[in-house]
C-alpha cells in the first residue's frame, strides 16, 4: 500500500494533481456553488472540447512538434458539417463523417508539409491556421449556420443521467488515446521520435510515417471537437475555435508534456485542461473580472513551464 502511494506520488502527474486538489478545496471552501454535482459537470463539459484536442496535441508535442492550426481546423470542420446539413440537405451522419474527413485532410497536409517539404512544424501549422480559418469564412460567407436536427444536436446537448454526452465522448477518446500511447508499438515510437529523431531512424523507425500519422490524428481530433462544439451550441460559426490552439497547448503543457519532446501523457493533458477549466469557473464564481481571469491563466501557464524547465535542469 505504501509502495503504491510512493509510486503515485512519483508519477509525473502527481504534482499537477495535487495543485488541482488544492484549487478545488479552496473553491469548495470559498464558494457555495462550486462543489455541486451540476457545477462539476458544467466545468467538465466546458473543458471537454479543449481536452479532446489536447489529447492529439500531446502526441504532437511528444514528437517535439507543435500544431497551431487546431482551432482553425475545428472552425472549418464545423462550417463544413453545418453547410452539408443545412444547404445540401445531407444526413447528419454523412455530414459529420465528411466534416471529420476535412480534419483528417488538414492534419495530413500538415504532416506532409513537415516531413516531405521539411517545413518546421511551427511554420507549416501557422500557415494552416490562416488557411483553415480563411476557408471557414469563404464557405460560410461569414454567417453562422443553423438550425440543426435533434439527431445532430443530441451529441452536444444530450445527457446520460447527470453526465453530458460530450464528457462521455471525451472519456472514451481519452482512454483510447492513453492505451494507444502507452501500450502500442506505434505509441512507443512516438516517444522515441521525440526523444531523438536521428537515433530513432537508425533503429529502423519510419519517422516520416509516424509524424504524418500523429498530425493526422491531431487534425481528426480537432474536427471531432468541432463536431461536439457545433452540436452543443446548435450553430456552426466560422469563428468557432478561434484562439483554442493556445488553450490546447497550455493544457498540454500544464499537464507535464515537455515542449522539448519525448515526454508527456494523456492523463496529464486531461488534468491540465481541467485545471484551466476549474480556474475559469472558480474565478467566475468568485466574481473576478474576465480581464483578470486572462492574467491569472497566463501566470499559471508560465509557472507550469517554469516548473518543467527546473525539473529538466535538475535531471541533467
Amino acid at each position: 500500500m505504501v509502495e503504491l502511494w510512493k509510486k503515485l506520488f512519483k508519477a509525473r502527474e502527481a504534482g499537477i494533481f495535487l495543485i488541482l486538489i488544492a484549487i478545488v478545496v479552496f473553491l469548495g471552501v470559498t464558494t457555495r456553488e462550486f462543489l455541486t454535482v451540476e457545477n462539476i459537470f458544467t466545468v467538465i463539459l466546458n473543458v471537454s472540447f479543449i481536452a479532446i484536442m489536447s489529447f492529439g496535441m500531446t502526441m504532437v508535442i511528444i514528437t517535439s512538434g507543435i500544431d497551431l492550426s487546431v482551432g482553425s481546423i475545428l472552425g472549418a470542420a464545423s462550417v463544413v458539417m453545418g453547410l452539408l446539413m443545412d444547404e445540401k440537405g445531407l444526413s447528419p451522419f454523412l455530414s459529420v463523417v465528411i466534416g471529420l474527413a476535412v480534419g483528417v485532410g488538414f492534419g495530413l497536409a500538415n504532416g506532409l508539409l513537415i516531413t516531405k517539404a521539411r517545413l518546421a512544424p511551427f511554420i507549416s501549422t501557422l500557415g494552416m491556421l490562416s488557411v483553415g480559418r480563411g476557408l471557414a469564412y469563404v464557405m460560410s460567407g461569414g454567417w453562422p449556420i443553423s438550425p440543426f436536427p435533434e439527431s445532430f444536436t443530441v451529441h452536444g446537448q444530450g445527457m446520460v443521467g447527470p453526465v453530458p454526452v460530450p464528457v462521455i465522448y471525451m472519456a472514451v477518446i481519452g482512454v483510447i488515446a492513453h492505451i494507444f500511447l502507452k501500450y502500442t508499438v506505434t505509441g512507443r515510437r512516438i516517444y522515441a521520435i521525440g526523444g531523438n529523431m536521428e537515433a530513432s531512424k537508425l533503429v529502423g523507425i519510419k519517422t516520416d510515417r509516424i509524424l504524418i500519422l500523429v498530425y493526422t490524428i491531431n487534425g481528426f481530433l480537432a474536427a471531432f471537437a468541432g463536431f461536439l462544439l457545433t452540436a452543443w451550441l446548435g450553430v456552426a460559426q466560422p469563428n468557432a475555435g478561434q484562439g483554442y490552439e493556445l488553450d490546447v497547448i497550455a493544457a498540454t503543457v500544464i499537464g507535464g508534456t515537455s515542449l522539448s519532446g519525448g515526454e508527456g501523457t494523456i492523463l496529464g493533458a486531461f488534468l491540465g485542461a481541467v485545471i484551466m477549466g476549474v480556474l475559469r469557473n472558480g474565478m467566475i464564481l468568485l466574481g473576478v473580472s474576465s480581464f483578470w481571469q486572462q492574467v491569472v491563466i497566463g501566470i499559471v501557464i508560465i509557472i507550469a513551464i517554469a516548473i518543467d524547465q527546473i525539473r529538466r535542469a535538475k535531471e541533467r
Binding site: T184, A192, G195, A199, S200
Partner: protein, 494 residues
Amino acid sequence: MKPILEVKSIHKRFPGVHALKGVSMEFYPGEVHAIVGENGAGKSTLMKIIAGVYQPDEGEIIYEGRVVRWNHPSEAINAGIVTVFQELSVMDNLSVAENIFMGDEEKRGIFIDYKKMYREAEKFMKEEFGIEIDPEEKLGKYSIAIQQMVEIARAVYKKAKVLILDEPTSSLTQKETEKLFEVVKSLKEKGVAIIFISHRLEEIFEICDKVSVLRDGEYIGTDSIENLTKEKIVEMMVGRKLEKFYIKEAHEPGEVVLEVKNLSGEGFENVSFSLRRGEILGFAGLVGAGRTELMETIFGFRPKRGGEIYIEGKRVEINHPLDAIEQGIGLVPEDRKKLGLILIMSIMHNVSLPSLDRIKKGPFISFKREKELANWAIKTFDIRPAYPDRKVLYLSGGNQQKVVLAKWLALKPKVLILDEPTRGIDVGAKAEIYRIMSQLAKEGVGVIMISSELPEVLQMSDRIAVMSFGKLAGIIDAKEASQEKVMKLAAGLE
C-alpha cells in the same frame, strides 16, 4: 622546486556518493601531469574543484603558496587556472578574435576596436600556435581541432599558470593531436603546469611527465612516467591484475556474409570489400576519410550514389535503416548520445526499441517479453546500475555503450558494424567490449570495426581496410600490418 598548486585531503560528497575520499596531489610548473582513472573515479570532480566549479567539503587548495577558496569559476580563471573542457565552450557564432579576447576586448572608449583586435588575434595565433587563421571568420566554420586551439589560445592569452586539459584529443585526428602536443610542449617550456586527462594511455606516455591514479574517489598513487608501464597503470586503475587487455580468440572465418561492390556516396567513392562470417574487419583511416559515411550508407541512413550490396550472395536494396535491419545488419554509431541512444528513455525502452516488432502481440507491446529482454541485456552485458527503468542519461559512457550493443545483439545480427566502439569509455569497459566483439566473431557474426586507435585496430582485427580521402587505399592482413604501414596508406603515401 615548490609546487604551484597543491590539493590536500580533499573530500567531496554528493547525495549518495562519496566522490572524493581524501585526495592529495601536487602540481609543479613546467610539468605535464596526467590524471587517470575509470569513469566515476573522481577525475572530473577533482578538476571541477580545482577550477572552482565545486567547493570541497573538506581539505584545502594551496595555490602559489596560499590557501585559497574559489567561490566561483571566474575567481580561479582570474588567478590563472584555466580549464579546457571535453565539451568545447567556445561561442561558434562569434568570430575567432572575439573568442580569443572574450572579456578582454580591445576597446576605444566604449566601442570595441575590431581592427586592432583582428590584427592582434592573427598575430597571436601565428606566433604562439603556428596557425594561419582568419580572425574575422566565425569560429563555427573551423574544425573542432581549430576551435580547441582557439580555446587554449584564450587560456594562454589570459596568462594561465595552470592549464587543465580534459580529454582534449577525443575528437582530434592524429595530425591535429600532434599539433596540440606541440602547443602543450611549448607551454610546458614556458613554465605552465598542465593537468592532462585522457583515456588514451599511448598519449600519456607520449606527452606526460607524471601520472596520478584515482580509483573510486581514492588517491592510489603518483609516479613519474619512466617508472610506469601501460599494464602497471591499468592495474592501478582497476585495482586488479588485468591478464589480457585485447581479448581475441583465433578461429577460422566462414563464408562471405556481406559484399560491397563499387559503392559510392557522399564522402566516399567506389569502395569494394567483403566480410566473412566470424571475421573482424577493421577500418582504419584519418578522421574525415569517409569511413563513417560509408558505413551509414551501407546501413541505409544516407543515400547511396551507386554500387551494390550483397548479403550472403544475394543482392539487396537498402534505402532505409529498416531494410538493413531486416537483412540482419546492426550499426553501433560513433556518436552514442546523438545517434545511438534515446537518452531520456530507460535502459529497457532503449534495448527493446529495434525489437518492438518481434515482441508485440497485435499492435501491443508485450511488456512481459520486454522486461525479459531488458533483464537479459543487463545480465549478459553487466550493465550497471542494473535497473531496467533507469534512464540511460544517467549511465556512464561504458554502460551506455553496452546498452547500444545490447539493443543490436538482441536482434541476432549477421553483420554488426561498430563505429569507434571504445571512444570515451574507460579501460575496464573497453576490455569488456573487446571481449564481446571476440565472442560475437566466434559465434559467426561478421564484425566491422571503425577505429582511429591504431593499437586497437591492429590487435582486434583479422584484416584491416584503410581508407584515405574517400577511397579504399587497401586491405591488409592483420598479421602483416604495422602502425607505420597503416598510417602510410591512410595518408595516401602508398
